[in-house]
Symmetry: D2
Subunit: 126 residues, 4 copies
């Protein structure tokens, strides 16, 4: 019985979130609902569902499925999220991809490194 | 240069979030700001800061440090979060612990398993 | 270019290994080749391949595909690994499952907790 | 009781291993014992021990502490691992760093991307 619980827990899985996303989502123009929606997409993916509906996503959140649809649209428009066409054994299907968000995060990181380098140069000149 | 970026990324680290937390935070009475604050605590811990101030937490969020303090108080009162006294080489220090939240999540999981078992028994009887 | 590298890295993904597995594999009768083979199965799963061949697994290791087949057989016989039949859209397919290993790890953890409790009782009686 | 087990499990933690490391360790000249030793260093770090002794590392492995010392030396010589001096509140201490390994992995990834690009160019020319 004890073991059953633990094994269920292990098999329920975890998602990994870059520490950088936690540090930078506000600078990227996201708020906590938008961040949480992104994490829901990652959680559904971990469970094998690569294209959850707004209803499925909203179910685990404190928003309605209409609000969920708006946020999804906003994320696509602001190039944080995209919908990709995939095919498997002749069947086409859609899936959410967070590649655009990772690009924005990479840019954010480079900008910061350049500022750090610039600051070091200035300090070295004094 | 390319490698520097990648290594910085790797060393910035990730936090792991149980898929169950993403599925159950609403049932536990949490909203997206409270969830995100919990994730900030995990992100600070990953970077070695086990007791970030409300100012440090709010800095990465779309809330003020006053709101942050209220949420922290609420989380402690509702037994999701606790403050623990630790000591290291003779020096005492405080740290946030999410143990109470994991207990609530474990209970949630057990409740669900019991309902599933009960449903199976009913179905078997038909 | 820099961003491409980072995004490739992020999308290559990570596998999560319980710290307990690292602490207990030897007690469970596993050696480093067997542990690494288990991690290869997790890495292939992360990339979407749930039933890699012995050739595919051995390719990333310092063992031949014959050795790989023997280790797979041994892991199944010692109840660390099992092969499960799944079906998706009418098509049956096989996949490796590590559920038996997680059960053994859960047992190992319970045994240790009991010994700790017993030790505490003995110490309290003195 | 059930919950205690689960919470112990959660708090025991996990380590994250890049899928790329699982795919490339052989190309980097590592075998399974060396890989496992690297994972032990990550597991000790997760538990707060940043400089485990060869005895502590070997304890969880099927090698002696002498073999463990040789492997540690080899990893440092081949620039996979380095020992860093840190200081905390006036006290100096040593810690293992895997930064050199992440650099090698980043290089391996870049090499592969260049080959892919070159192959694409050749194919486009045909």
């Amino acid at each position: 019985m004890d073991q059953d619980m633990m094994v269920s827990w292990i098999e329920a899985g975890t998602i990994q979130i870059p520490v950088l996303l936690m540090q930078k989502y506000r600078s990227l123009g996201l708020d906590e609902k938008e961040l949480s929606l992104i994490l829901q997409i990652l959680a559904y993916k971990e469970k094998g569902n690569v294209f959850p509906t707004p209803e499925q996503i909203a179910e685990n959140m404190t928003i309605t499925h209409n609000e969920c649809s708006s946020i999804l649209r906003k994320l696509v428009q602001h190039e944080m999220l995209k919908i990709e066409q995939q095919s498997d054994k002749g069947l086409g299907f859609d899936q959410y991809s967070l590649t655009p968000l990772w690009y924005k995060l990479a840019e954010e990181m480079m900008k910061e490194r350049k500022q750090d380098n610039f600051r070091n140069v200035l300090e070295a000149e004094q």
